[in-house]
Amino acid sequence: MIGVELSKMFRRPRTWATIAVLNALPVLVAVLLQLTDLAPRPGEGPPFLSAVLTNGQLFPLAALAIVLPLFLPIAVAVVSGDAVAGEAQAGTLRYLLARPAGRTRLLVAKLVAVLAFVLVTVVVVAVVGYLVGTLLFDAQPVTSGTSGAGTSMSGTPLTPEELARRTLLAIGYVAVSMLGVAAFGLFFSTLTDSPLAAALGALAVLVTSSLLFTLDAASPIAPYLPTRYWLAFVDLFRDPVLWRDVVRGLALQGVYVGVLLTAAWANFATKDVTS
């Protein structure tokens, strides 16, 4: 069943089109940076971008930071919102359930497929970012000492191994953050027969969350907003690593994912399928 859903996900042209579009923006940014040599000053623009000109190996992180606020969540919301509602709208849901695929199994398989999409997307963005970064920019460290391959956000040098390790952690952290979006999408997807409505529902949650985050009056609830710790992956590149927000971010996403998936299951397992 999981194999079936994975096959459906990755045999679908739309999946690859989404991933391609997602990579277009960081590539465009890289090309513009290379042509103009005008990097944003440190502390401005997306994280890591200021350092990219001097070290192309930081570009995977810059690429993730570029797509993270908007593009990546949109893609994840669309794919996860489509999971159940898309089958309902196409009419294939009734055939799957009468096959019988089993409602819980189907939901788990959908979840795994969305999870696979999130991972593949994040990894592809990072890999494309690495290729573009090393191709267009200097891969050699300029500011750091003899053994360093890059610099942490705190200005101290990082060995190549350390940089790779922290980049992998960052990819994992971004994937977990997106899992929260996927949980919202999947939950809404079991509520409606319209994939568009489910995706927009998940996006509405994220927009609301980002908006409240900037509002001082909302500060009491700020620690519980789903987007609150998204950019905490930057902390993985401080020296020493600032774990506080990263751990809180993971815990928060864990709670959201747990609650939403339970709700999705409770709703879907007892729902009349009339589509």
């Binding site: 069943m1 194999g3 079936v4 096959s7 459906k8 045999r11 679908r12 042209p13 196409a90 009419g91 294939t92 009734r94 055939y95 799957l96 359930l97 009468a98 096959r99 019988p100 695929a101 089993g102 007892t270 009349d272 399928v273 009339t274």
Partner: protein, 305 residues
Amino acid sequence: MTSVIVTRGLVKQYGRVRAVDGIDLDVRAGDVYGFLGANGSGKTTTVRMLLGLVLPTRGEVELLGGRMPRAGRRVLPRVGALIEGPAHHQHLSGAANLALLDAAGPGGSRRTRKHRIAEVLDQVGLGGVGRRKVGAYSLGMRQRLGLAGALLRRPELLVLDEPTNGLDPQGIAEVRELLLDLHRGGTTVFLSSHLLAEVEQLCSRVGVLDRGRLVLQDGMAHLTAPTGATVVDTPAPERVRSVLDGRVLGTSGERVVVRGTDPAEVNALLVGAGVPVTGLALQRPTLEEVVLAAAGTSADRVERA
């Protein structure tokens, strides 16, 4: 005879509307069961409850001896279904769609999958369709592919909701032949339809649904049994009345209905008296007459209360 589908006091309530109102279906092994009812009479809701898609408000469903929806995992692999028209992934070929559906549940061996798919595609007349994407199929081809999906695991029971939708007359005849063929091979067929002619040509038993209630459930032979009258076609209806005094039940145009279960005897009397007879038959009610007598007005009429 074992029962394949049994429902007891099946009720489905949507808010204040009772879509299905206490029906007791009984479909036996070997039946070709025609489930008739106007649009909106509750046919589709009932079919969905049989397959565990919609959960009953009250009452129970037994499918191949198992209580639905709990026994679904055990019994549904032995049931082939076409529910309210076919549905497929448009960007995949017909064979790829069938393979995905087959792999999505129990009871379809991976080893035989390719062979079974080729076989059912031939059976429904799509053997030569190749790798064309379903998005490029015509309505009739999609309907055939839906039917192929229902047949994929050689089911004991076929639950078909309007299986000839979108087919041309040749296609309808083909599907009818296919179903009769499967039935001869031992498959029980549950055919939900609003097309009386389709049901009349195919079915051995009939259930009629009217506004959520099962108003009729009986063998086709019994429902359309001779009424005990003979129909005479003649250019001289008034002379029939004078010859068969007191036996004439009614006249309409050149058609006279006469009491008597033996057309030969009626014919002998009329011809002996020199009355021209152009047609002669035992009177049988058509299924349409039976259904119209059992069911009320069309269910999609909404009258003022």
